[in-house]
């Protein structure tokens, strides 16, 4: 029997991520959390990437981006785990799984900020995905394809009704689901030594 020290081993669940998860999803986040989004929302019409979103949807998009930032910060703050380092493969080569992020199409109101936040999260997601069992990985890839299908449907519908608040909200919902899928893979099992 060995007695372990309390401190370093006695890890709590990540407080930052826990706080982010507790935040309401339908109110405006503090403005200092997302100055870039705020600047874009304050810009004259036509200068923002969120061109067809109403205020509630734009605020929700801003919140999502802020949540992604929190998640990325959490990822950076975590101790490096060699067990999940994609560069540490037998041959020394990276085995990052090829994943294509969802393409929201030419009619999407999503702007560069939202897509950049998604792409940052995607980097962590790719590394984690490679570490999952084949069955789980297959389920994740299949569901990304489902989100892509939904995004395609919405984009096609936006051609018919570009000003539709419903379509823009649903597209934001698809974007949110994509982010949640990535974050679920990035964070789930983080307390356990990942690999299966």
């Amino acid at each position: 029997m060995t007695t372990l020290p309390f401190g370093p081993r006695n890890q709590q669940p990540d407080p930052l991520l826990a706080k982010a998860a507790e935040l309401p999803k339908d109110i405006a986040p503090p403005r200092d959390l997302w100055p870039a989004i705020a600047a874009r929302l304050s810009a004259p019409a036509g200068q923002t990437g969120l061109r067809a979103f109403g205020w509630p949807a734009a605020l929700a998009a801003g919140f999502l981006v802020a949540s992604v930032s929190a998640l990325l910060t959490w990822g950076l703050m975590r101790e490096p785990d060699p067990a999940v380092d994609p560069s540490l493969t037998a041959g020394g080569a990276t085995t990052v799984v090829a994943i294509t992020p969802v393409n929201y199409g030419p009619n999407s109101p999503l702007g560069a900020v939202e897509l950049a936040a998604r792409d940052d999260l995607l980097i962590q997601f790719r590394h984690r995905l490679d570490d999952l069992s084949p069955q789980t990985r297959e389920a994740v890839v299949k569901n990304l394809a489902i989100i892509q299908g939904a995004a395609d449907e919405i984009d096609a519908a936006l051609v018919q009704d570009p000003a539709s608040g419903l379509l823009n909200e649903l597209l934001l919902g698809a974007y949110k689901q994509e982010l949640q899928l990535y974050s679920r893979v990035v964070t789930a099992g983080s307390g356990a030594t990942r690999r299966t």
């Binding site: 007695t3 067990a83 999952l132 919405i154 698809a174 949110k176 099992g189 307390g191 690999r195 299966t196």
Partner: protein, 298 residues
């Protein structure tokens, strides 16, 4: 007793299993506070938790992997249980780690697994249960439940308590029954089924999975359901006193009370329906792209 002495008197255990044995059967026990926080991490196998009337944590572990290590740390306020494999070779391994726990009823429970199933019975404290591909099955009482999986199924059975239940799932199914007050659920392709008594706040979203909610609404209830391709079915226990805003881009809207849906535009598909039933009060908003919307009071 000084703080220092109190700290020193706290029971502390840490055990590393013997690595040379092929299969390891271990058991550990510690006295804890009734509201202690218990953290459990496992990669593969299962985590089964049962509540009991003692202020003790009892762990029985069956480790099939010869190199698996069990770490068990306990203070009065905090317990940490983790199965690790030093060489990190979990992939393609058939070696499960079976963890069976008995805990005080009111502990705060946090379980995090990769492909290990999680089953919790009788824990009344707050629970946060997460798995990548394992199933999550638990009961809801009065404290919050947060249940997350990627491809595993989620099941939460309430006992009429006012637990705030939230679920996130990608492809597995989610079934929540017998809860009271509030529910929030998200899925991509997985179906969601929720039964909520005295509902104050219900929120659900999916991409292609179907959403089925049975609820009786309080006067100030707020129900928001959004699905892209999945069908949405809301059954409200009568009498219904609510304002409805239902909208689908190309799906049908069907209701067994109130007015019928009308076409949104002459040249664009889709239908919408806004009306007040009874004295209003509660608010119901449902949106879909192509999924059918059905509301009924029976």
């Amino acid at each position: 007793m000084s703080i220092r002495n109190a700290f020193l008197s706290v029971a502390t255990l840490a055990v590393f299993a013997q690595p040379a044995v092929a299969v390891q059967d271990l058991s550990k026990r510690a006295t804890v506070a009734p509201d202690a926080t218990v953290n459990v991490s496992n990669v593969q196998g299962s985590v089964s938790v049962t509540a009991w009337d003692r202020n003790e944590v009892e762990l029985t572990a069956h480790l099939e992997g010869s190199k698996d290590e069990l770490e068990f740390e306990a203070t009065e306020r905090q317990v940490r249980i983790e199965v690790t494999r030093p060489d990190g070779k979990y992939r393609n391994s058939d070696d499960d780690a079976i963890l069976t726990l008995k805990l005080p009823k009111t502990v705060r429970l946090i379980v995090d697994t990769v492909s290990a199933d999680i089953t919790v019975d009788g824990v009344r404290g707050e629970q946060r249960l997460e798995s990548v591909s394992g199933t999550v099955k638990t009961q809801a009482y009065d404290e919050p439940l947060s249940l997350h999986t990627v491809s595993g199924d989620i099941s939460a059975t309430g006992n009429g308590g006012k637990a705030r239940v939230s679920t996130e799932n990608v492809s597995g199914s989610t079934v929540v029954t017998g809860i009271r007050g509030g529910y929030e659920g998200e899925a991509v392709s997985g179906n969601i089924s929720a039964t909520v008594a005295a509902a104050e706040r219900v929120r659900a979203g999916s991409v292609s999975g179907d959403i089925e909610v049975h609820a009786d609404l309080t006067a100030a209830a707020r129900v928001d359901i959004e699905s892209i391709g999945g069908a949405v079915e809301l059954t409200i226990k009568p009498p219904v006193n609510a304002e409805f805003e239902l909208e689908s881009f190309s799906g049908d809207i069907d209701n067994c009370f109130g007015p019928k849906a009308r076409d949104k535009h002459k040249y664009v598909p889709g239908s919408e329906l806004e009306f007040r039933q009874g004295s209003g009060g509660a608010r119901v908003m449902i949106q879909t792209l192509s999924g059918e919307i059905r509301i009924c009071d029976r």
